[in-house]
């Protein structure tokens, strides 16, 4: 645009903005002196001013702070990290980047996770994370992602794990409807993984749909055991904490809240006395009911209505009461109950 033309447009725009909508029309009619293009441009500016709302009103840092802190470890394709050759980027998350890599010694595919430096700077936290990740991996449970190696290349900490073909539960839920049976099938597997870990004294602390991988053959795998240790000093997000805190130190519950089926529990250890984990499932199944459930019991009823022949709903309804008596008392109990 020519600066002179722009100057005319903005002058008229500023003038027009001092007037009410009706007078504005008359003003532009007169001021543009039949210059239709000029008038069009001023009107376009007024229109977008009216529509712009809070556009640019929050500063860039407030809107996208992660673009200022960006601390991607940034491996490149073909690079060798440890004895793993990077093949492609699989995903980026708050806890690091995950690459598909080839183990050059054993010639197999691995998922290589590079942890962001801000999470690994603290030695104590890092060593606690390693201890937990190793403990969970040592369980050799079919529903727990196997960790091959935890290592470092320069400043970069990495975790090599088995590579899973499939998608996360989050991605699967995003793809659309999941029926109750499929949801429960996953819930049982996840509960079984958590129970095994729980028994070995390992608490996940960050169970969420992003951390559950679904294999095409129906296996669900829980990822990232121990990784919450890296952020433990931070105030945890309440969003993923569910109900049963306080005295019920070993309680695990299933509840249907906010349109989602939750599997939750508390840690066995006093210091980890918050949630053992929580699993959000069946959202799309519930969504088909058309209304947003408000309270757990009613949600369960609604679920029952949707699937009247489903025996599982009775089970859910019983434990959705969220009372210590009716709740199944450990993740193991939940898995067995199925």
């Amino acid at each position: 645009m020519e600066p002179e033309l722009w100057q005319r447009i903005t002058d008229l725009f500023d003038e027009a903005m001092t007037r009410g909508p009706k007078e504005r029309i008359a003003f532009l009619e007169e001021a543009c002196e039949g210059d239709r293009d000029l008038r069009k441009q001023v009107e376009r500016l007024i229109k977008s001013h009216e529509k712009s709302g809070d556009f640019l009103e929050s500063s860039a840092f407030a809107v996208a702070p992660e673009l200022l802190t960006d601390d991607r470890a940034g491996a490149s394709v073909g690079e060798l990290i440890g004895h793993y050759r990077i093949e492609s980027l699989i995903g980026i998350g708050g806890m690091g980047e995950v690459y598909l890599a080839r183990d050059e010694r054993l010639g197999r595919k691995v998922a290589l996770k590079l942890l962001p430096e801000r999470l690994t700077a603290d030695e104590t936290q890092l060593s606690r994370f390693k201890t937990e990740a190793r403990a969970a991996s040592a369980l050799n449970h079919p529903n727990i992602l196997t960790v091959y190696e935890i290592g470092a290349e320069g400043n970069r900490q990495f975790i090599a794990t088995e590579f899973i073909e499939g998608m996360t539960l989050r991605a699967s839920l995003a793809c659309g409807r999941m029926n109750l049976h499929a949801a429960l099938e996953i819930a049982v597997q996840v509960a079984s993984a958590l129970a095994a870990a729980h028994e070995a004294g390992v608490v996940h602390r960050d169970i969420k749909p992003e951390n559950i991988m679904l294999r095409p053959d129906g296996y669900a795998k829980v990822l990232d055991f121990g990784i919450a240790k890296l952020t433990e000093q931070r105030p945890a997000s309440d969003h993923y904490e569910v109900g049963n805190n306080g005295g019920a130190a070993n309680a695990t519950g299933v509840s249907v809240r906010h349109g989602a089926l939750h599997v939750s529990g508390t840690g066995a250890r006093p210091e980890g006395g918050r949630a053992l984990g929580y699993l959000e499932l069946g959202r799309s199944a519930l969504r088909n009911g058309g209304r947003k459930p408000a309270v757990p019991r009613r949600d369960a009823e609604r679920l029952h209505c949707l699937h009247p022949d489903n025996g599982a709903t009775t089970f859910i309804r019983r434990i959705a009461g969220c009372s210590a008596q009716t709740r199944i008392h450990s993740a193991k109990g939940f898995a067995q109950k199925q």
């Binding site: 001013h49 712009s52 556009f55 500063s59 802190t69 492609s88 699989i90 998350g93 989050r170 997000s237």
Partner: protein
Amino acid sequence: MTAPSPSQQKVTQLLGDWSGGDEGALEKLIPLVQPELHRLAHYYMSRERAGHTLQTTALLNEAYLQLTDKTQPPWQNRTHFMAVAAQLMRRIMVDHARARHALKRGAGAIRVTLDETALVTEERAEELLALDEALEKLAEFDRRRCEIVEMRYFGGLTVEEIADVLKVHPNTVKRDWRAAKAWLYAELTTEGS
């Protein structure tokens, strides 16, 4: 007052050079300022989790205190530092957005996105790149309005502070901001115009 560190002296000198018209000084400032901005951003983000909102002004104020040599009079004016910092913020954030964008393209189709925050960041990165491009366009015919957007959006400066930097009346800043915002909005929402 404690004696300024060599890096504070260097930053202060570069700020002076830059305000004296040396465009190259900005390039030299970025590596000196960026780590501090990173560090502060982490700090503010961890506080945000405890219920604080992210304040660009507070962030840059802190950076100003950490980075500059206060024994030198020209840069005692923190507003001018803010104005420069706004440009630095824009460059740093846009560079990151570009790096993310390139990574995504370079990697081909990302099969799994592990985390909602990652998705959001991708989206913001793209939006920021589009805004940066639109600002470049705006600067071609209206340098001042582009600077106002920079100061306000990237530097978090208030209308009064911007007026102070540009030596104009706050009402002028308000009007210019309104027009710039409207133009950018049209530019970013209208296809192929």
